[in-house]
Symmetry: C2
Subunit: 336 residues, 2 copies
């Protein structure tokens, strides 16, 4: 069978060849009527427009590589959903790469580059400097999402995590808490470091030292252990800040169901992220919101609207409001 | 700058050109040492292997289009994670398409076909027969995941939902429940229909009619309303089956926090899916497990190992065990 060309489609549809081309170019302007006519003719002839062939000419694959290390923290599915919808508006789609901590990130990045992606978003994944150079050499914009690297080799979008931690400390201080605990996330991450520093610095200014500190590594099971350790001492905290919501949920199970403590009467609990679960009545978690939509919008801007060769890496920090619910004591009339 | 070829890379690395080609062919056999040598030479020269160019020759893009309608039900992120990891083992990656119920699925499918995908997986998405023909014409295997269509136009992988519903009915009957309610999922879906039919048929055989039925549409907010409606009558059910876990979680908030009922003392609650949340101590939900790993394994098999032109559409149904936890009364010594 002879290969069907866009000319054949144009002829059958009774339109120009450039109209056919526009119909199959994501983001190009074309009327619904024209699109229907052309697609119908294309279907009839078995014509398959070819993004891949076009990408060889234009250099655009219309693919953004997205690397995710885990999806069981509800924050990431939410981001993936918003990111995917926003990319689609621009005629792009995310190609997913699951990479666990055990994966060789160099290998993962090689796989991504093999697809001639037009950009890369790293969700909660750290990246080596060798990889940085490789992407720079290939002129591919890379955005770190919810992380940044000390050496600022890449664009990064984060919440202002230091400020967020500070807001939690202010709430605990205002509520008169004295024995204040902290459950840390994975220590290698900027989110963990900044949230803790903002929290501890602000407590210190009020003359309060951390009463207890354990590590949950952003992991459900480890947080259950960390919470048990913290709350089986004779004296335990009357308020605990968890470096993300996912850990706070794990702890609430231990505190309420296992140890029979009342939240917030016996202990105030605050998280970070404001994932959809946080507002469910069974949790009703006071938490610092990561503004998912704004964070994704900034990510899109860094991918598409900033010349990655011309500019220095940009780190965007977005303010995250404290969402006051029922898991932490609140002084009357308190506003964060 | 002259284009760097695989020959240049072979020369610098001191290996054959076919070795270079193997290194950049996902799934091809190559030693770690060889791969390192070749990739280093490729980096040095700025060589970018080109899956897209190769796909024009071989016809393989190494991309599987995955259509998802929503990710807030934790079942889908879990599936996406497993599917992504399994595809990667075969040298493929999923290209994500978020499609809401309002989207024109014809348009979405056109976008997918534009990428020359090697297969399509539809997670909880229904598909029109026009699209079916289009995929068949393009010889692209399509697998419906967690859904099937009455007319069996596509391969489909589901849990045995009828049996699952039946198991829940058996538990309620054995526990002596008399006023049994059902909260339905989205009525257009095979999952909803089969789970309800298995549940209601088995109750009928025991001479029990459904006491109340409401519709939650697999939606969190709608389920909150449906639960309120069901439980603000003078007489309310003493056991309710929710067509998925996501709805059961919504209901637990209403029952325990809002209406002050005890689960399972006042009312037994059972869900369907066994998402990770179900085993969290705050929920401890009795539910029918959808065996995610087996379902993904069958999906992969249908995508890669079945000749889609030669065979009739295959519907794989996998048995889902009842996971007994603490949200429903259990007669002593009961085994499902």
């Amino acid at each position: 069978m002879a290969k069907v060309t866009s000319q054949d489609v144009a002829k059958l549809a009774g339109v120009s060849q450039s109209a056919v081309s526009r119909v199959f170019t994501p983001g190009a302007s074309v009327s619904k009527e024209m699109a229907d006519k052309v697609r119908q003719a294309a279907d009839e002839l078995g014509y398959r427009p070819n993004i891949l062939a076009r990408s060889l000419i234009t250099g655009n694959s219309r693919i953004i590589g997205v690397v995710v290390s885990y999806l069981n923290n509800q924050f990431y599915p939410e981001i993936l959903e918003i990111l995917s919808a926003e990319l689609r508006k621009r005629g792009y789609h995310p190609l997913m790469f699951m990479a666990s901590e055990n994966d060789d990130m160099d290998e993962v990045m090689s796989e991504i580059l093999d697809y001639q992606v037009d950009g890369v978003v790293l969700l909660s994944v750290n990246m080596s400097s060798a990889l940085a150079e490789r992407c720079r050499a290939a002129s591919i914009p890379v955005v770190l999402f919810n992380r940044y690297l000390e050496k600022d080799r890449f664009h990064a979008v984060t919440t202002n995590n230091y400020e967020g931690g500070s807001k939690v400390a202010e709430l605990f201080i205002a509520a008169g808490h004295q024995r204040i605990g902290y459950i840390a996330g994975w220590e290698e991450t900027s989110t963990q470091r900044d949230r803790e520093k903002g929290f501890v610095d602000t407590l210190k200014k009020a003359g309060i030292e951390l009463f207890d500190r354990q590590v949950g590594n952003y992991n459900y099971e480890e947080t259950i252990q960390a919470t048990r350790t913290m709350f089986t001492s004779q004296e335990y905290p009357d308020a605990v800040f968890f470096a993300n919501d996912h850990m706070a949920f794990a702890a609430l199970g231990v505190l309420e169901k296992e140890l029979g403590l009342k939240v917030p009467e016996d202990v105030s609990v605050v998280g970070f992220d404001d994932v959809p679960l946080a507002s469910w009545p069974v949790f009703n978690l006071t938490t610092v919101r990561q503004p998912a939509k704004s964070m994704v919008a900034e990510t899109i801007r860094l991918l598409f609207d900033v010349d990655s060769n011309a500019s220095q890496p940009i780190h965007i920090e977005i303010d995250g409001p404290l969402m006051i619910r029922n898991s932490a004591k609140v002084p009357q009339g308190y506003t964060s």
